[in-house]
Symmetry: C2
Subunit: 222 residues, 2 copies
């Protein structure tokens, strides 16, 4: 018989996993968190997500769900009487999904090279990341959160930028999100970092910084 | 004031656009179809989708929505009393979204190289495409459609394989979906091609074949 309850298979430094924790906490759902060693994944993780083998995986009453943005929608649909994560209007919902896809496919791909680039190549990739984020920023203009007055689906999906981007900047020595280039996004960072579920779940900055410094050195020496 | 009604900006040979037409027809929604010259996009398309500039775009009472899989969900949500496209159960819905993402990100990327590869390289990419499709095929085992007894969301998203893959095979001389390698998917192709909304909307085979032959020659000579 399937085990009852809610379990999250994650990795403490993953900005994709934290989306799931935010969504569960917004709903007030009690969950068990299982931290994975990604170099030596558990049998349980591989059994629950044989297709991509990635974290996060949410296991709800024994049934596994993978892909962070899909898990967030699932949580919103199952605990539908709790905090509303998705916009209630179908058009707003489609827009939130569009921007989430844009951020995950375009901006994340544009941000990643900043992590390892150096010298002139860095200037170029920083500019490309900024261009992508400027497009995304338009969806935030005139609003407190992407979700409007309240922290919503798109904030859950891209909220990691507020904590992880400054770490990428510190590790790489690049400046991406500045008052000059991305003032709206930068001001939103402060609001994201003040949200309760965010404050409760962020990994220790020094530990995250050390891990990302080590990763960068490893990638640069490879 | 925004124009009332439903308009689809598409391109007749696009397997992404046809998803939107299938979803609208399943719901019995009357729409205007605008065919775009992708080498010379209309001002209307660029105004409606300034971010990715891609088709399809659905314009509903003047409000534009982009990204085919997102448009399909929107159509299901807005015309919610019509034919049910998404599964009604949240877990089934999450699974359908997971496989749609897997197909779009992994399988389409694995299929594309088949289109242009030749010789030994072709054998390798055909094998990779088959491996991806074999994983996807598991979601279909024991069922008539990915949606169960009825043509549903995941069928709408991956249904184009049934018509476009044989064309890619003919153009490239490769065999991907065979009775030996992908029997479940191959049998599903026949069922997809018998669905009314599919039959009504498929572009003429000779025209699609000619376009794809020309594209392949252009890519190989580049």
């Amino acid at each position: 018989m399937a085990e009852k309850g809610v379990k999250v298979f994650g990795m403490w430094a993953s900005p994709m996993v934290i989306r799931v924790e935010w969504a569960l906490r917004l709903k007030g759902v009690v969950y068990e968190y299982v931290d994975e060693d990604l170099a030596n994944k558990s049998d349980a993780l591989l059994r629950h997500n044989p297709v991509t083998k990635k974290v996060p995986v949410l296991v709800h009453d024994g049934e596994p769900i993978a892909e962070s943005a899909i898990i967030v929608e699932y949580i919103d649909e199952v605990w539908k009487d709790g905090y509303p994560i998705m916009p209630s209007d179908p058009y707003e919902r489609a827009q939130a999904r569009f921007w989430a896809k844009y951020a995950d496919e375009k901006c994340n791909a544009a941000i990643y090279p900043v992590f390892t680039a150096t010298g002139e190549a860095q200037t170029k990739v920083v500019h490309e990341a900024q261009q992508c984020l400027k497009t995304l920023e338009k969806a935030l203009e005139g609003k407190k959160f992407f979700g409007g007055d309240d922290f919503g689906y798109l904030d859950v999906v891209v909220g990691w930028y507020a904590y992880w981007l400054p770490i990428i900047e510190e590790v790489s020595g690049a400046k991406v999100v500045t008052d000059e280039e991305l003032p709206v996004l930068k001001a939103w960072f402060d609001r994201i970092l003040a949200v309760d579920v965010v404050k409760e779940t962020l990994p220790p900055r020094d530990k995250l910084l050390a891990l990302n410094k080590a990763r960068r050195e490893q990638l640069l020496s490879a």
